[in-house]
Symmetry: C2
Subunit: 202 residues, 2 copies
């Protein structure tokens, strides 16, 4: 009975490997198929190591949620930054990025659904969710405000736009046969234009 050989890794490396394995497992097998052993096997690590880096499997899942939302936020931010200075172009870039990889990814959908399903039962997940969506809406409010939308309407518009994009993203990634990413972008942009109509930049 020979023991498995192993290498000692940096703490951050191991933590990130476990987080990535958790996301991959949630994406591929759902929350039901994501166990301590499944995660650790995917990370190439024995099951016992999980508790050495996290308080438990629930804590690891919460941490994975935090990391995933951060990745999505960065993808959006990068798209906006690449769009240049024109406010409308920046807003459109933000929306369009939601329907392209890495955001519109079936793996991300599965991961996201797993998190949503924990919001009511897991207080830590609920807190992360509230924070994350507050951040998303805040960013959109800023973009809308830059487009000349009245300040009083920005909050409500950000909520509605978030909802529209979320709904399109959801159906697009759940069942890509109904409509395409391009159609989704076009619908969101049309909504945006009718919203900004009559609210010029000065």
């Amino acid at each position: 009975m020979t023991r498995a050989v192993f290498t000692r890794e940096d703490a951050d490396t191991r933590r990130q490997a476990l987080i990535e394995a958790t996301a991959a497992s949630l994406a591929e097998a759902g929350i039901a198929g994501t166990s301590v052993r499944a995660i650790c096997m995917r990370a190439g690590v024995s099951a016992g190591l999980l508790r050495h880096y996290f308080d438990g499997v629930d804590a690891l899942i919460a941490e994975t949620y935090r990391a995933t939302t951060a990745t999505v936020g960065e993808a959006h931010a990068a798209a906006v930054a690449a769009a240049g200075a024109d406010p409308r172009a920046r807003l459109i870039a933000y929306v369009t990025a939601s329907f392209r990889p890495p955001v519109a990814d079936p793996a991300l959908l599965a991961t996201w659904l797993a998190f949503w399903s924990l919001v009511k039962t897991d207080a830590a997940i609920a807190a992360i969710h509230a924070d994350t969506y507050r951040g998303y809406r805040g960013e959109l409010e800023g973009l809308l405000s830059s487009c000349g939308l009245e300040q009083a309407q920005c909050r409500s518009a950000a909520i509605a736009l978030t909802a529209l994009v979320d709904g399109l993203w959801l159906e697009l990634t759940l069942d890509p046969t109904t409509f395409t990413a391009e159609q989704a972008s076009a619908m969101a942009v049309r909504w945006l234009d009718s919203l900004l109509e009559g609210n010029s930049l000065d």
Copy 2:
């Protein structure tokens, strides 16, 4: 060791009791907490009975999905029917019903999320989902057409409206502190009005 007393029930009664118990369990404990024993205890029945009426726990969950989507469809249909003959009122009734019980119910959210998370891995669930959403969009297309919207735009508008309503419903039931049901209705109605603008009934 005395056996539990029991009464023989009609097959439909037992099936519906198990379906309702499944929905309740999904709502309260999530997919992870919904086991054969949890479902059957909730239905007041021993665990072995599940297999007597369903092919297994997965089949029962699929059946619960079918029943749940039917309930939501009926709630929408009832709201539309109660709205009278005016096309715009009917459309608004459809949308508003999405943000009120029994549609905007945290229990329903949990059930729905559990089903969505099975769409990619379970072919039966995927088929039910595709059918259901085709039906929802078809109904909306009819309502939009009655409002005088050009036929060519109806399909795209139905997709976008479904997405907006889904997104608002999702966030409203996930975290009711961000905005109210009335605000959600108002946002959807505003979108509708700007869409129908210039498309009178002639």
